[in-house]
C-alpha cells in the first residue's frame, strides 16, 4: 500500500539578500515525504538543512517553487495561518531544549495544548500521557531548570508530541547530549514514530541520529546531493 504524501516540495529555491547581491541557500529542490517517515536532512554547515526545515515548518517561505505541507501551500499562508499550522500539526524539537524556564515539566508540556485551547481535564490527561511516553511521569512538578540535559530534551519531545502532530521537526536534537542519552532519546522518538505514525524530520550531522533514520537526504551547497532509503540502519545500532 502506498503511504500518504504529506509534504511535497517542487523546484524549491530560497535566496537571501547578501549585501547588493543574493545568496542562494536552496536551489531547485524536489522532494516528497510520506506520513510516518523517520527521515533526516544531512549536510555540512551552510548546506541549507535548516532553511529547508524552516520552510517545511512554515517558519519561512520559498523564493521560488512550491512547498505543500499537509495540503497547505506554504508560500500562500499568512502569518496567522502559518502559526495555526504549527500550532495544530507540527511539533518542534530544538538542539537546546528551549523550555520555558519559570514553568514546571508539566506546565511546559501543557503550554502546547493551551495554545490549542484544550480544556483543563483534556490537558491534564494528555500531558500525563505524554510524560509517560518519555518516562518523566514521576516528575511532572519538577522545575525544568533542575533537569539534566537528557530529561530536558525528553520534556521537549513530550511538548512536541503531546498534541499528537502529524509532523515533528527536530533540529540537531542530540547535539548537546552524551551518547547514552542520545540513544535513549532517539529510541523514544523512534517508538513514538511507530506508535503514532508521526513523520519525523531531522536536521543533523550526528552519526548516532543517522543510524536511526529510515531515509537520509544529503544536501550540499543548497542542492540535493542524494536521497537514500536505508532500512538496515535501524538494526545497526
Amino acid at each position: 500500500m502506498k503511504s500518504e504524501v504529506i509534504i511535497t516540495i517542487e523546484n524549491l529555491t530560497k535566496r537571501f539578500p547578501e549585501g547588493d547581491s543574493e545568496f542562494t541557500a536552496l536551489s531547485k529542490i524536489n522532494l516528497e515525504f510520506s506520513r510516518g517517515e523517520f527521515a533526516g536532512v544531512v549536510g555540512p554547515s551552510g548546506s541549507g538543512k535548516t532553511t529547508l526545515l524552516n520552510i517545511i515548518g512554515s517558519l519561512d517561505k520559498p523564493t521560488e517553487g512550491r512547498v505543500s505541507v499537509l495540503s497547505n501551500d506554504i508560500s500562500k499562508l499568512s502569518h496567522k495561518e502559518s502559526a495555526m499550522l504549527r500550532n495544530m500539526h507540527i511539533g518542534f524539537i530544538f538542539q537546546v531544549y528551549n523550555l520555558l524556564p519559570v514553568y514546571t515539566v508539566f506546565e511546559n508540556v501543557e503550554f502546547a495544548l493551551m495554545l490549542q485551547k484544550k480544556s483543563k481535564s483534556e490537558r491534564t490527561k494528555s500531558v500525563m500521557e505524554a510524560l509517560e511516553w518519555v518516562g518523566l511521569q514521576d516528575i511532572p512538578n519538577k522545575k525544568v531548570t533542575k533537569l539534566s540535559g537528557g530529561e530536558g530534551q525528553r520534556v521537549a519531545i513530550a511538548r512536541a508530541m503531546v498534541k499528537k502532530p502529524e509532523l515533528v521537526i527536530a533540529d540537531e536534537p542530540t547535539a548537546n547530549l552524551d551518547a547514552v542519552n542520545a540513544h535513549s532519546i532517539l529510541e523514544t522518538m523512534k517508538n513514538l514514530n511507530k506508535e503514532f505514525n508521526t513523520t519525523f524530520l531531522f536536521s543533523t550531522h550526528d552519526e548516532k541520529v543517522m543510524s536511526y533514520l529510515d531515509r537520509i537526504i544529503h544536501l550540499r551547497d543548497g542542492k540535493l546531493e542524494s536521497d537514500e532509503i536505508i532500512h538496515h540502519k535501524i538494526t545497526a545500532k
Binding site: L59, H79, N98, Y103, F111, A112, M114, L115, D171, E172
Partner: protein, 426 residues
C-alpha cells in the same frame, strides 16, 4: 491562560518585581498626594466656611465692597426680619448672624489701672443666645483650653496665646475698647470664662469671642449684624446649590438701588476660594495625568528590557505556533495583572499614609505666623481619606503599565520567524 501568566509573573521575579515597584510607587504617590491635597483644601474650605464665609454670606452691598475693613457702620439692620425671611425661603439651610469687629483689649489690675494692652480681632456668634448649633459648628467645646463656653452676657473667650501674652487667668476682667457702629467710642468690660485654640493661625493670634447679642449691645448695632451666614445641610458645601441660592436671592434685589440692600455671596466667590475649589477638583486629574506620563516612560523602558530578556521565550512561543498578536495580547494581559498587583499595593500604602496624615498631620503654624492672607489656613495640614482614594490610583497604575508594555511589546511584530531556528540554537 491567565492563571498560566500569573504563575510566570509570580515565579519570574525579574519580570514582576521592578514593574510592581514602579507601579506601586506611582500609585502610592498619586493616592498620597491626592488624599493630602483633598484634606488640605477641604480643611481650608471647611474652616473658611465655619469661621468666615459660611456656604453663603448675606451682607449689605456697601459692607461687601469694604469687607476687608470690617465696616460695621455699613452693616445690615433689621436682621431678625431678614433671617426670618431667609429661613422661610430656604428652610433646609441654617441662617446665623455674625459680627466681626476690631479693637483693643485693656487688662486692668485690682486697683483699676491698666497692666497690659493688645489689639484684638473680635468674633461674635450665637453662644448662649442661639440653639447651640454654632457652638458645635465652631467646635468651641473641643477648642477650649481652659474654662468654659460663655453662658451669660459679658462673658468672653479669649485666644489662649493672647491670654498667655497678657498673663490673663479665668475670671479676670478685660476692657474692650473700640468703636460703635455709629463711630463713637465703645467700652465694655468682659469676664474671661475660658481660653481657646482653634488651630487656625488667624484666630489664634489674638481674638476675643463673645455672644452676638453682646456684640450688638457694645457696638450699638440693635437688630444689626455685619453678616448673615447660611450653612447647607450637614454643613457640607454644595457648590451648585449655593450658586443657585445666591443667584436667586440677588435677583430678587436686582432692581433695588439702595447700597444697603442685602446681597448674597457664595463661598467660592470669597477669599479666592473659587481658585482653590477648582484647583482641588482638578488636582487629582493633574496628578493622574502626570504619573501616567512619567510611569509610562519608565515602564516602556522596563518593558523593552523585559522584551529583550524574554526574546528567546517569545521565539519558542512563535515556533510552537502562537501568533504574534496572541503573544502581544498575553504581554498586555501580563501588564494588566502586574498593574493590578502594583495598584493594590500602592493603594494600600497610599491610603495608610493618608490615614497617618489624617490623624497626625503636618504642623505649619510656624510658617503661618509670617503669612498674611485672607484665607483661613489650618495650622495643621491633614490628609483626608475619601472613597475615591481606593480606586484613583488604579487609573495611572493600570494605564501606565499597559501603555508602557504595549509600546515595548510592538517589537514582537518585528520578529522574523525565518531566523527562529538559528536564534533558538543558542
Amino acid at each position: 491562560m491567565i492563571q498560566f501568566l500569573l504563575k510566570g509573573i509570580l515565579r519570574d521575579k525579574s519580570r514582576s518585581i521592578l514593574p510592581i515597584i514602579i507601579v506601586s510607587a506611582g500609585v502610592f504617590l498619586t493616592v498620597l498626594l491626592s488624599g493630602y491635597m483633598k484634606g488640605v483644601f477641604g480643611d481650608v474650605i471647611d474652616q473658611s466656611a465655619r469661621f468666615d464665609t459660611g456656604h453663603v454670606k448675606v451682607m449689605s452691598r456697601a459692607y461687601a465692597e469694604n469687607i476687608d475693613q470690617l465696616p460695621n457702620d455699613l452693616a445690615l439692620l433689621g436682621v431678625t426680619e431678614i433671617v426670618g425671611s431667609l429661613k422661610n425661603q430656604y428652610p433646609e439651610m441654617d441662617w446665623v448672624k455674625r459680627i466681626k469687629f476690631g479693637g483693643l483689649i485693656d487688662v486692668i489690675d485690682k486697683e483699676g489701672n491698666s497692666k497690659g494692652q493688645g489689639p484684638v480681632a473680635g468674633l461674635s456668634f450665637e453662644l448662649f443666645s442661639g440653639t447651640g448649633k454654632e457652638i458645635k459648628r465652631m467646635n468651641i467645646e473641643k477648642s477650649i483650653v481652659i474654662g468654659r463656653v460663655p453662658l451669660k452676657p459679658n462673658e468672653a473667650l479669649i485666644s489662649n496665646e493672647f491670654a498667655q501674652k497678657l498673663n490673663l487667668s479665668i475670671g479676670d476682667e478685660v476692657t474692650y475698647i473700640g468703636s460703635t457702629m455709629n463711630g463713637s467710642m465703645a467700652f465694655s468690660v468682659f469676664k474671661i470664662c475660658g481660653t481657646i485654640t482653634f488651630g487656625v493661625a488667624q484666630m489664634d493670634r489674638g481674638s476675643i469671642i463673645i455672644d452676638v447679642s453682646d456684640a450688638q449691645k457694645i457696638l450699638d448695632m440693635e437688630d444689626g449684624a455685619g453678616e448673615i451666614l447660611g450653612f447647607q445641610r450637614n454643613d457640607i458645601y454644595q457648590v451648585e446649590e449655593a450658586e443657585l441660592i445666591s443667584d436667586k436671592f440677588n435677583a430678587s434685589y436686582a432692581s433695588d438701588p439702595d447700597e444697603f440692600a442685602p446681597m448674597m455671596v457664595s463661598l467660592q466667590k470669597q477669599n479666592d476660594l473659587e481658585f482653590m475649589i477648582n484647583y482641588s477638583n482638578s488636582i487629582s486629574a493633574i496628578l493622574i495625568g502626570f504619573f501616567i506620563f512619567a510611569m509610562s516612560l519608565v515602564l516602556w523602558n522596563t518593558g523593552l528590557l523585559s522584551g529583550l530578556r524574554r526574546y528567546k521565550e517569545f521565539g519558542i512561543r512563535l515556533a510552537l505556533g502562537e501568533a504574534k498578536g496572541q503573544i502581544y495580547r498575553t504581554f498586555t494581559y501580563e501588564a494588566i495583572i502586574v498593574g493590578i498587583i502594583g495598584s493594590v499595593i500602592g493603594t494600600v500604602l497610599g491610603v495608610s499614609a493618608v490615614y497617618y496624615l489624617q490623624v497626625v498631620g503636618i504642623d505649619i503654624s510656624g510658617m503661618l505666623d509670617q503669612l498674611s492672607s485672607s484665607m483661613m489656613m489650618p495650622s495643621v495640614l491633614r490628609g483626608k481619606i475619601t472613597p475615591n482614594l481606593f480606586y484613583i490610583g488604579f487609573v495611572p497604575g493600570l494605564l501606565a503599565m499597559v501603555l508602557g508594555n504595549m509600546l515595548s511589546g510592538l517589537g514582537i511584530y518585528k520578529r522574523q520567524t525565518a531566523t527562529l531556528m538559528k536564534e533558538l540554537e543558542v
